[in-house]
Symmetry: C2
Subunit: 143 residues, 2 copies
DNA sequence: ATAATAAACAGAAAAAGTTTCTATTTAGGA
DNA sequence: TCCTAAATAGAAACTTTTTCTGTTTATTAT
């Protein structure tokens, strides 16, 4: 559940970083807030095509990186060759991870992140993390 | 420091999975055991060129995937677009994760995995996990 | 040791995803 | 409203990975 407040907060964060508040950026933020957990550049681009008759894929790439730089989005590495972006930043209300069952392919959320209290490691100030677990779900364990 | 024993163990694991013990596969295993923590397909290919005058990059890709499938190597996601492979699997002596600096792109190892003792979550029997952290490295924090 | 066979291979070509380039448009400040 | 730097589209280039085809090789059975 997302409030209008956090939406405007994001838009303000653009200004704070000296970035322009363009229609495409607003649409991208809106898209991430309203729908999926994480999206590839191409997925974002396809959605934006529904709103803007002209919309270049390079712009989408650039905007996603801009949004990462000002802390609105996070880059997420998944097992494919594609880039992935999401709002699942540490401290965000949506922060969570996933566990997949290697038997049936089912995906569940891990709501209790075991890493939120790690803010410093190896001299790094930790800003974000991505955790993916796999194993055998309760249903498949029974069989 | 890796013993000859674990080398032969790896070679046996090829056989157990019905894979042939080819010179290139032996060389790849030897390479990972002897040198770096993780390598890209291209890095492996360049090393192999020193040993084999004929050595195709597609073969390197195929072999790396074969070695993943029989549990010798692990795929590692880093912040670039390249594939990375290493001997780092859960339970393995090399198990570890990575943290990347969002400013300079530097990658460091997190040797102390904070998740090794998590064997059950959300009803799942946890078998494996992938953790990727990002933040600002000590050097960039100073500037 | 040899032959048979399925897997592994090289090299070329194609595909997928991302980035760069150039000229045009637009958001935000003067 | 005008100005300027940032943002944009579209084309093209680029990097990395995968597919394809025909040839070679490791292993199994003889």
């Amino acid at each position: 559940m997302l409030s209008l407040d956090s939406h405007t907060q994001y838009l303000n964060r653009l200004k704070d970083n000296g970035l322009k508040l363009t229609p495409r950026r607003q649409a991208i933020i809106h898209l991430f807030m309203g729908s999926a957990v994480h999206l590839t550049p191409e997925e974002v681009w396809k959605k934006l095509h529904q709103q803007f008759e002209k919309c270049g894929l390079p712009s989408v790439y650039r905007n996603l990186e801009s949004l990462v730089e000002c802390g609105i989005l996070a880059r997420i590495q998944l097992a494919d060759r594609k880039k992935h972006y999401g709002l699942c930043t540490v401290g965000h209300e949506h922060h969570h991870h996933h566990i997949t069952c290697i038997k049936c392919g089912r995906v569940d959320e891990i709501s209790d992140c075991p890493l939120t209290n790690i803010t410093e490691i190896n001299g790094y100030q930790v800003l974000n993390h991505f955790l993916q677990m796999s194993g055998i779900c309760s249903h498949c364990l029974e069989n």
